[in-house]
Symmetry: C2
Subunit: 262 residues, 2 copies
């Protein structure tokens, strides 16, 4: 039995999120279907976590078990020849049997992209949140710093989720502008449902001068979802990278793409 890890990139626009649902197109279903066709046996993949409908990924990580002897580079090629155009495998790697894409994730990095152009380019509507007008990057950066560290993030948790603990740790959180774009780069131990989008939706009013930076700290302390801002739309969100410890770095049999970046 072997354990294989795949790094996936996908344009989330036309997927109903990661998780398998009957009768809708999801990333999980698409990946499992292609793996089954290639390997000839049923496959259930484990992802680092779900992504919502419309959310994109540059570095989603999954693993699955197989008795197949297919080499990693052969599987990488086969997957990319079968995948639809909005999904690609960036890397396939054999990992130790105890590697688990969800349980062993040490951190996840997300980037949220918004565009402040008065008129949004028609090429960007599925890829950024459009926020015409200026945003005070410094004020949002200040608010972002207050969220760093280990906290109870109940105020930023989407409804309808059941978790053992609402405590998470944010390791890094930078807000910066480039041209007409504003990037929110956040790396943490893990995120509650809608947490990144709820945090961004709370920072926006700060950037628009409608709320003070320090109010975000108070909202965090209140542990009350109704106090935070609205959920930012999914199309601006990208799961960029999932980090693991020693596990998953095995070089037993690795093949990754050589050129370009998604």
């Amino acid at each position: 039995m072997r354990n294989l890890k795949i790094i996936l990139a996908y344009d989330g626009s036309a997927f109903h999120g990661w998780q398998f649902q009957t009768a809708t197109r999801t990333v999980q279903e698409t990946v499992e279907k292609c793996l089954q066709d290639i390997l000839g046996h049923e496959v259930r993949v484990t992802a680092s976590g779900r992504t919502d409908a419309g959310v994109h990924a540059l570095g989603q990580v999954v693993n699955f078990r197989t008795s197949s002897r297919i080499p990693a580079h052969g599987l990488l090629r086969a997957l990319n020849s079968m995948f639809p155009p909005d999904l690609s495998a960036r890397e396939v790697r054999e990992v130790p049997l105890d590697f688990h894409a969800r349980y062993l994730a040490l951190s996840k990095k997300y980037v949220y992209v918004s565009d402040t152009s008065s008129i949004l380019s028609p090429f960007l509507s599925r890829y950024v949140m459009h926020l015409p007008g200026g945003l005070d990057i410094r004020a949002m950066g200040q608010a972002a710093r207050a969220l760093k560290g280990r906290h109870d993030f109940s105020s930023f948790m989407g409804s309808g989720s059941s978790v053992k603990t609402t405590i998470r740790e944010i390791f890094d959180f930078e807000v910066f502008g480039k041209g007409s774009r504003v990037f929110f780069c956040i790396r943490g131990s893990g995120f509650l449902r809608h947490m990144v989008r709820n945090i961004v939706g709370t920072l926006i009013p700060v950037g628009q001068g409608e709320m003070a930076s320090r109010d975000v700290e108070s909202i965090l302390a209140l542990r009350d979802r109704t106090q935070a801002g609205p959920t930012a739309p999914p199309q601006g969100l990208y799961l960029v990278e999932v980090e693991y410890g020693g596990h998953g770095r095995s070089d037993m049999d690795t093949h990754r793409r050589q050129e370009g970046q998604p």
Copy 2:
């Protein structure tokens, strides 16, 4: 009566090209419908030329006549609030009554984009032609230079078009690489049906070493469509800019977007 010029940008992926067709979604139909809703009278717009299904535009130019007194900036705002996300108006300008978007175009600039990454990013499948493997930029540039100037371009004309003359002039034609991308930038007096895509489809085998640069000159001289390469797919093609002479540069009442680029 006033004559208004609009510069449009669109993601061609979900349009069946420019030209009005019953029961399909085209750019012309979408623009005319929105103009009619805003102005309250029937509108027929004239474009610099058609674009095929899947072809994109950063600077398509159209004009139309109206008795409405709506200011240019008001129309720009109204259009962008009504347009679907894959279409935007970049500029609205009042021009002299004799301005005509098609007849008075002095040149058009197209860019064709291909990507040579071994695995194409899932975010690019609608926006570039995927050509894994290297391309000899210098050889393609040499072939491109042979096409510059005034020639009979019958060899590169798509079938099913009736034109008075197949003579066109190419003013500039550059081929350059940047990272994993290859850009074909061509500016000419006008282009026959599928001409840019047929030229790119003929240069590709030169870049792949399957044909000599000088063969492209021979193909041009033969005036025979069957001698040239296949039509490159539409998704890599962008209508970038249409140039006019003194006409259309009037500043009677102009409003253009201030930030960002599509």
